[in-house]
Amino acid sequence: MTIPTAPLLELSTLWIQVTGTWCNLTCTHCLNSSGPHNPWLKSLDTDMVIRSIKEGAELGIKEIYYTGGEPFLHKDMLLLTAHALEVAPTTILTNGTLITEQVADHLAALAQNSPYSLEIRISIDDVDPEKNDRIRGKGAFSKAIRALQVLHSRGLLPIVTATEILRDELPEGSGMYEQFRDLLLSLGITKPRMKIMPVFSIGRMEGEGGPLLTPEMLDGFDYSLLQCSETRVVAEGGVYACPILAGLPQARLSEKSLKEAFKPCDLYHTACVTCYETGMTCKN
């Protein structure tokens, strides 16, 4: 069967998988199977990240995202945040467990000194600590909540990212969105910010095969609805099509430069069907 492809319409969003798949948690739904032991994608060198940011700036990107793994495991994460914020608005996707008061002070100072916004996205999957920790690991909930509070008290306005992994366990009639909003308000977070993501059949949720996109399905389709039409990811081994497939050989478009990755990417994975159906993006 022919694999359909998506064109790169513009490079707007630069993702940097700064710690590869190295994480201090082992969430059951992790889309790149991150964890503490033998990560299958390694962290990036500080120099390599700085070079990518520079190349991104030359190409006229709009924003930068740091992800992993857990970005705050990188020894130079604060320095790298500073570099990114010199060039463009920057978002960090984190589980929040490593955001101490000192880290939050640093981040607040960096945000203050940049003309661009710094967004910190903290992952929580349920408003119930016990249910959340069943997915994300013991103690993850209380640490994430603490991170929200230390960031909020410094004016950093964190965004909670939740996946729909526990959606089916919701009591009848109560939306996930409202539940999280209420939780944040009850914690004194007066500007509650939320991002809800679908679960992808990839990583620890990868099933046995599953449907794939066909060229017929993409006939007349508006490719700008797929994030791979405007994004590229720098991760160990090169430049990849999108944050969901980062690190996978078939999604690799270049070994080095971003510019070389200005070409169509294969929509070969079952995860592509989720993008196609929901139009979702990993952006804020």
């Binding site: 006229g60 990107i61 709009k62 916004s117 500007k191 939320m194």
Partner: protein, 266 residues
Amino acid sequence: MNREPKEYRRIAVCGGIYNNYLALEAALEDIRRREVEAVFCLGDMGAFGPHPDRVFPLLGEGKVLAIQGNYDQSLATGLDNCHCGYTDPRDNYFAQLSYEYTFRKTSHENKAWLGKLATHRRVKLGQYRVLMCHGSPRRTNEFLWESTSPNCLLEKFCRDFETDILLCTHTGIKWHRALDGYGHIINVGTIGRPENDGQVHVWYTLLTAGDDLQVEFIPVRYDHETLAREMEKEGLPSEFIETIRTGWWTTCLEILPAKERARGKY
């Protein structure tokens, strides 16, 4: 189109009107006293406020040269939502209420007029080439906030779209940045809604070419209490009315980047 763009020395530029015909009237009156050669509007005539059809005669009388915003495009083509580009369910809920109201209350003729507007316009201002767009030059509903528009992107826009001055609106908050080397990006703000700073007035922009480019943001006070009462009579959401009366945004908040969000009340 290879017609030479028309050249001016001093122009006024308005952003989204959002049905706020009282603010538009006050702005046009203010503009009349300032000896400009032309008045431009960057689109989004509808949304938010009451009585959409009252905006159009004012645009005609004031000889306002308009381009098309996302709202105008949606109304003209009968789309089922405003394509404002919101991503949050609460934002979308409120956007939908005002879109349905505006769609219902905008006449066929006015929708057809909106459908004929161009999406971009080029003029010259003294020696400067000016490109007007609604959201960004590459996408009508792209948000260009001050804190999420990096210089590297703005320089690329100036290069790719061959302009010295780029004018936009769509976000609802004005800003101006002069780029090193050359280039100016100006988000002209909006006439329709105060800009989330606790002040009830709205803004338009005055541009004058001399040796340098002069950019002035002009505050416009108008009878916002009458507008608020009319919105009440029309059954528009109390959240919108609060914004008109207090100057703080109560909806469309999730699209705000961290810096802009931090400055508001909610």
